[in-house]
């Protein structure tokens, strides 16, 4: 069945079986994953997926069912299973029924940007680029593993609900990266370009891969991995910290994005991911960071992995502050949680992984507004500090307060000058104190919208693609954990 017909059939069946609200999502996706590792093509695969889900409300409880079979029989069956599940679970809810914030239904189409279609670029061209980079990374004997990867995704989805919405959306996502792992002196060290987690990803076409200019960064990636083997470990102590923009992105992700998810705040994720220290009583009153810290959520930034026309509840994309001049001002919401805290409308952060997952609150693009500093001036004005870059290890407690992060690389700063290379720089802090110590943010010239295609949340786990815009920033008096 075609998506429109499938959706109509699912909505009709759900209503006929007593659903007070119903929605159907149909998703078709195609991906291409390529990887060259140590001279061999380690990954060359083309997964495709198609399926649909039906979500209903009956007697104030959710029911959800999904199937990869695009047939009338399958959608009728799924609608029946969803209603039956809601029926069974509604008895637990009693009078505490789920209600949704209003959302005027829309009929619309949206398509993300794509210059050069990555699926139209020959495999030969892509593999040749990866093989050249892999060979370059392995020209020093200390490099025991080189990994060069590319990944592309094309998704086409349809959404319809019983309120009259019908939405069609398409996007293409592209990305690539390099990794060199060196071993020697009883140690193993890794360097990545342009960041960890497989590199940089954007909504867009193959031009995004070309813009990374991977071959130009092979030598530095390789040499820094090797140099780290003999670098001294980052010493323990309290110093100023300058984070590179991709590490600021991780900081935003873990210590702002996740704790601002209102489902976490209200306890819906406590069984695995945890809760949040940003409880509703703090909204508008809590000092999250210094006056310089303004963090914005948006689903409209060009190239963002969480940029869309409408979320998976049909709520239109938008832009709003989570933290404004250091004060907590907003949350990431869906229709259910927006209603629960008395907001007029959802912010539009309900997203599901593929067709088989229940939409939950996911980060959109979460970005730190840039400041005015030039990075060189930032370093020059730092007397005793460490410049840390590229995520290596990350851990944070279930309320998103105590964190400890390690970066791939650090450079000592003494008297305003970059000095020796340091391995395993590990810093530890508590979220509001850390952001309160932010006293300088680099300018828009240094701002990068980093794409992270594998944020995990939910139980069963779902993967979401998100972006974080950031420029390098300085934090005063941070505790470094020694070796």
């Amino acid at each position: 069945m075609e998506p429109r017909e499938l959706a109509a059939c699912g909505l009709d069946e759900a209503r006929a079986r007593g659903a007070s609200y119903a929605e159907v999502r149909v998703v078709r996706s195609e991906a291409q994953n390529l990887g060259v590792r140590n001279g061999a093509i380690a990954t060359l695969e083309s997964p495709a997926s198609e399926g649909f889900s039906v979500r209903v409300l009956r007697e104030g409880a959710w029911g959800f069912a999904a199937s990869p079979r695009s047939t009338r029989e399958a959608v009728v069956g799924a609608a029946g299973r969803a209603v039956a599940a809601a029926d069974a679970l509604s008895r637990l809810r009693g009078e505490r029924r789920i209600e949704l914030a209003p959302n005027p239904p829309q009929v619309a189409r949206w398509e993300g940007p794509c210059g050069r279609d990555p699926f139209g670029v020959s495999l030969e061209e892509k593999l040749d680029l990866l093989r050249r980079c892999d060979a370059g990374l392995r020209t020093r004997p200390e490099v025991v593993a080189a990994s060069c990867t590319m990944s592309f995704l094309r998704e086409h989805s349809w959404y319809a609900n019983s309120e009259g919405a019908f939405l069609e959306q398409r996007f293409v996502r592209s990305g690539a990266g390099l990794l060199a792992r060196a071993a020697g002196h009883g140690d193993v060290q890794t360097r990545s370009y342009p960041m960890s987690f497989g590199g940089q990803f954007v909504q867009g076409g193959y031009e995004a891969v070309e813009a990374l200019d991977l071959p130009a960064h092979v030598k530095r990636t390789r040499d820094e991995a090797v140099a780290l083997l003999e670098a001294p470990p980052c010493p323990a102590g309290v110093r100023d910290l300058i984070l590179g923009s991709s590490q600021v992105a991780l900081q935003l992700h873990e210590s702002c994005g996740h704790p601002c998810e209102l489902d976490r705040v209200l306890g819906a994720e406590v069984d695995l991911a945890g809760g949040s220290f940003l409880t509703p009583d703090k909204l508008g009153r809590f000092r999250y960071g210094s006056d310089l810290v303004t963090i914005v959520a948006d689903s409209v930034s060009p190239g963002g992995l969480a940029t869309f026309g409408f979320d998976h509840e049909g709520v239109p994309a938008g832009r709003w502050p989570l933290v404004e001049k250091g004060m907590l001002t907003g949350y990431l919401t869906n229709r259910e949680t927006a209603r629960a805290i008395g907001e007029d409308a959802s912010r539009g952060a309900a997203r599901a992984h593929g067709w088989a997952s229940f939409p939950i609150i996911r980060m959109v693009n979460i970005s730190l507004e840039p400041g005015t500093w030039d990075l060189d001036a930032l370093v020059a004005s730092t007397e005793d500090g460490i410049l840390c870059d590229t995520v290596k290890s990350w851990s944070i407690d279930q309320m998103r307060l105590n964190f400890q992060f390690t970066t791939e690389v650090g450079w000592e700063i003494k008297g305003g000058k970059i000095g020796r290379l340091l391995k395993n720089p590990t810093y530890q802090g508590t979220t509001p104190e850390f952001w309160a110590s932010c006293d300088a943010i680099a300018s828009r010239r240094h701002f990068v919208l980093w794409g992270i295609p594998q944020c995990g949340k939910g139980n069963p786990m779902q993967i979401a693609e998100v972006s974080h815009g950031a420029a390098p920033a300085r934090f005063r008096g941070i505790r470094f954990v020694g070796p």
Binding site: S49, W62, A66, A88, D187, G267, Q398, N402, N459
Partner: protein, 446 residues
């Protein structure tokens, strides 16, 4: 979930759809039903049917792969064509091994009809029980009830043909007060072996005991790690040390130390799918029979797991630990078992003058692969032990510790093992452990 006859038919049809020198088809079908709940109320649920049909082809010494989330003829044919197109785009690979032929598999019985048929009303009843148990102790119950039936079928053009169906049931309860959290999760292939009231009671006991936590300054101190905490640490050994690739690339702490004592002599670690608590197919991602592998025996490094490619490089045979090929990770142990001792958690507590009891570890992550230095937070009940008894609950602590060193400072090993999951995934059959001088490095405010 596809039954054996239908899955085999569909897999063989896909095999024929690919006109290649060699072809492999791996078909996984899954039916998952779950309910999540918070404060006793259902918040999410799902009844989800999924297929993953992967076709790997070889033509003129070149390999390509594609997959379809469907078993429909058009989708399968398209996947076969994409796999062939991928193969033709690459140069020949001189290291490519022929696909394996037919093999004999040790049967594993981990399919339970009552799990496959478990209903939403039955899940709702379990959740109501958990809410009631928690309420009796002025706690709020959250959690998840999941049941799943999975069938895996692998066939190839050299005669390999294997099929396995398994089930999984998991009930997890978090019991919350204003200042404490207790948790318990039990997983078994047979839902009849789950006792929702017992799971909830265990979570509620921890939640009640954890009220009014105090600060304990972070420092090195003896620790008693309950099985879920041990599983979260062992995850990093599984992914960073016990696969052949980690050794080849110099990242494993076992490099150059096989035959030597690397851990406490009471530590024995195996990968053993056939342990009665483990769940999974008795063959790996390239159709090789799964074997039990001794990794550390009496503290002495014995071996790592292999797929066919790594085995060929090392002059040995596959241990049946391949992920679906090709992959970047190399062979991995996915069914670790840590040998048991003879103590109960209570005895470990009684034997400690001063210690910290850790119920669960949250969001641990690796800092250094060679020493398996890991940092993470305690969660769901952390207690100060004084003079052989639980003295008081404490606020959660961060640890930063080398697993290799910690497993050289073992005080006692638990006699009872359980199946536990790591935060980042994976199943582990593990006992409790007591370890001396465990490094807690900072604390939090709850």
């Amino acid at each position: 979930m596809l039954e054996k006859a239908e899955a085999s038919l569909l897999a063989h049809r896909a095999l024929e759809a690919a006109k290649a020198d060699e072809t492999e088809v791996l078909l996984v079908s899954r039916r998952t039903e779950y309910v999540r709940f918070a404060d006793g109320l259902p918040t999410q649920d799902g009844s989800v049917e999924e297929f993953d049909l992967a076709i790997r082809v070889r033509t003129e010494g070149r390999e390509g792969k594609a997959s379809a989330g469907s078993t429909e003829e058009g989708a399968v044919r398209a996947a076969a064509q994409r796999a062939l197109a991928s193969a033709r785009a690459r140069p020949p690979d001189p290291d490519l091994l022929p696909l394996p032929g037919a093999a004999t598999y040790v049967p594993k019985n981990d399919f339970a009809e009552d799990t496959a048929a478990h209903s939403f009303p039955a899940k709702a009843a379990a959740i109501a029980t958990a809410a009631e148990v928690a309420r009796e102790r002025n706690l709020r119950a959250s959690g998840r009830f999941l049941t799943e039936a999975v069938s895996s079928t692998i066939v190839n053009s050299r005669g390999c043909a294997a099929h396995h169906a398994s089930t999984r049931a998991s009930f997890a309860v978090t019991a919350l007060s204003e200042d404490s959290e207790g948790w318990c999760e039990v997983t078994h292939h047979d839902v009849a072996r789950l006792d929702p009231r017992a799971v909830a009671a265990r979570a509620a006991e921890k939640g009640a005991l954890g009220r009014v936590p105090r600060d304990l300054p972070p420092r090195r101190i003896r620790v008693v790690l309950e099985p879920p905490a041990v599983a979260n640490l062992l995850f990093f050994a599984a992914t960073q040390a016990f696969g052949a690739r980690s050794v080849e690339e110099g990242a494993s702490f076992l490099v150059g130390r096989f035959g030597e004592r690397v851990l406490d002599p009471r530590i024995t670690i195996e990968d053993d799918l056939f342990h009665p608590l483990h769940i999974g197919a008795p063959f790996d991602g390239e159709g090789m029979p799964a074997r039990r592998v001794s990794l550390v025996e009496g503290g002495i490094a014995r071996g790592v797991v292999h797929d066919r490619a790594s085995a060929a490089r090392h002059g040995t045979t596959s241990t049946g630990h391949s992920l679906p090929q090709p992959n970047e990770a190399g062979p991995l142990p996915t069914h670790l078992v840590l040998g048991s001792g003879d103590k109960t958690v209570e005895e470990m507590v009684r034997a400690s003058k001063e210690a910290v009891l850790v119920s669960r570890i949250h969001y641990a992550n690796l800092i250094d692969p060679r020493t398996l230095t890991v940092t993470g937070m305690t969660r769901s009940g952390t207690f100060c032990v004084r003079d052989g008894a639980l003295a008081y609950p404490i606020r959660n602590l961060r640890f930063t510790e080398s697993l290799v060193q910690a497993l050289g400072r073992v005080v006692a090993i638990g006699g009872r093992r359980e199946l536990a999951q790591a935060f980042f995934g994976g199943d582990f059959v593990v006992p409790a452990l007591s370890v001396e001088d465990f490094a807690f490095t900072s604390s939090t405010t709850f």
